[in-house]
Amino acid sequence: MPDGSHIVDLQACAPKPARAILPLEARDLTYQVNDLRLIDRLTLRFEDSGLSAIIGPNGAGKSLLLRLLHGLIAPSGGDVLWRGETANEGIRQRQAMVFQRPVLLRRSVAANLRYALRTARGASPDAINGSGLNGSVEEWLARANLLHLADRPARLLSGGEQQRLALARALSRRPEVLFLDEPTASLDPTATLAIEELIGQAKAEGTKVILVTHDLGQAKRLADEILFLHRGRVEARAPTEQFFSDPENDNAAAFLAGRLVF
């Protein structure tokens, strides 16, 4: 469990991200492999605050949807629009993503963060060395409770520490939208709690978080709204409390009840 005394409140040293790219819209978004539609003419819109959790059975297309929205994969059809525009360099720089299996550079913990800061929008020597808009390497390491591991090779960290580093690295770029693809999969409760605290802080600072998770408890704890994805379509979308108390969709109800959904 992270030691709270190490956590630095970066709200004091970094401004909230200006709303430049939200709302995010998917219009008739389709991703097809041969004749199989993995994302099926999906239309949805994310407004500019809170945490949206995407849940659903395996193979529903959750991670694929996240990659399509983030622009890592080109859709077979439809559009992803950021404030009505397709993504450009400026828009891409205002997003970040953390993957289920963190991809850490073959460098030290501090060097991983330094790389993220150096490649962030508006990067300057100040941003990397200390007093820039994004905060310094040390501040972010402290926030993720990794300051004592700064010089360790990143790939030698434990699973939970690696994911904290990946999340701190993503947040250090001050994204307006943060995509999280099962960031706590295969982590123990202590490591999960540390990750959730970081996510909660990001959300509190105004970052829009779109989270894919299999952990219904996590969705309940963190999300403002739930999207239930099944066969590449959003079959249910509701505020968290309402979704869990009264899922209007049969498949969503079956999923919540722990029954197999095909």
């Binding site: 720089q93 970040a96 993957f99 991809v103 490649t119 090779p153 030698l156």
Partner: protein, 235 residues
């Protein structure tokens, strides 16, 4: 067999006495081969990395060509370069034939495809791991090449080592464009060939022992570096 033993004895005498001629040959060999590897890396590392990352028409053919050129016959390279550098050739006015520079060029031509082809494989493997993360960071492809080369540096040292092995052991090309001129272009391999044909086995063996020693020492140091890097999860 007795002659063989005596030759070994003489060889060690030459090495231990710090024979000036021997030292000159060894130093020139190292100078030529290390410089050639440096130039080959300057060409091969970015070329291999770019081929791993960029998609363009003819990429497949280029990869096949790079792989094929790894087995380029040194005498063919020597002959080609001889024709280019001879007085009647297009580069004749540069008067590079029978100079160490010509030998460096020859070895660079031989080593660059090895460095490029092996670099492509190293960078392609690393790129498949880093690709989504780097694109998520909005890192452009040129910047990605720098990142991949840096993070793959320990594997790329082995690539450079393979190139050095090719260069230092090479004889066919350097004897054609260098001419094996005493105190000018005489390197270890060409001297071994010459002295063996003259029956001077002691010098040939001494150089052979040094050549093998250099190969073992360079391999051992790079292996040790890689093992350290791997233990530290940097490789």
């Amino acid at each position: 067999m007795q002659d063989f033993g005596a030759a070994f004895g003489l060889a060690f005498d030459l090495i231990l006495s710090g024979n000036a001629d021997l030292a000159e040959i060894v130093l020139l060999s190292l100078q030529v081969s290390l410089t050639a590897v440096l130039f080959a890396c300057l060409i091969g590392l970015p070329l291999g990395a770019a081929t791993a990352i960029f998609r363009f028409p003819g990429r497949g053919a280029l990869i096949v060509l790079m792989n094929a050129l790894m087995g380029l016959p040194p005498v063919v390279v020597g002959l080609f370069l001889y024709l280019m550098l001879s007085n009647a050739g297009p580069l004749g006015p540069l008067a590079l034939l029978y100079t160490p520079t010509a030998m460096i060029i020859a070895q660079s031509i031989l080593v660059a495809p090895i460095v490029a082809a092996l670099t492509r494989q190293v960078v392609a493997d690393l790129h498949s791991e880093y690709d989504e993360q780097l694109r998520s960071f909005s890192v452009g492809r040129w910047a990605a090449i720098g990142t991949l080369l840096w993070d793959g540096r320990y594997s790329l040292m082995t690539v450079a080592l393979a190139g050095f092995g090719r260069a230092i052991a090479e004889v066919g090309a350097v004897i054609i464009v260098g001419g094996n001129i005493n105190h000018v272009t005489r390197v270890m391999t060409t001297t071994i060939a010459l002295e063996t044909s003259k029956g001077n086995l002691a010098l040939a063996l001494a150089l052979g022992i040094i050549l093998v020693g250099i190969a073992v020492a360079v391999n051992a140091s790079v292996m040790s570096l890689r093992a350290t890097a791997a233990r530290a999860a940097y490789a």
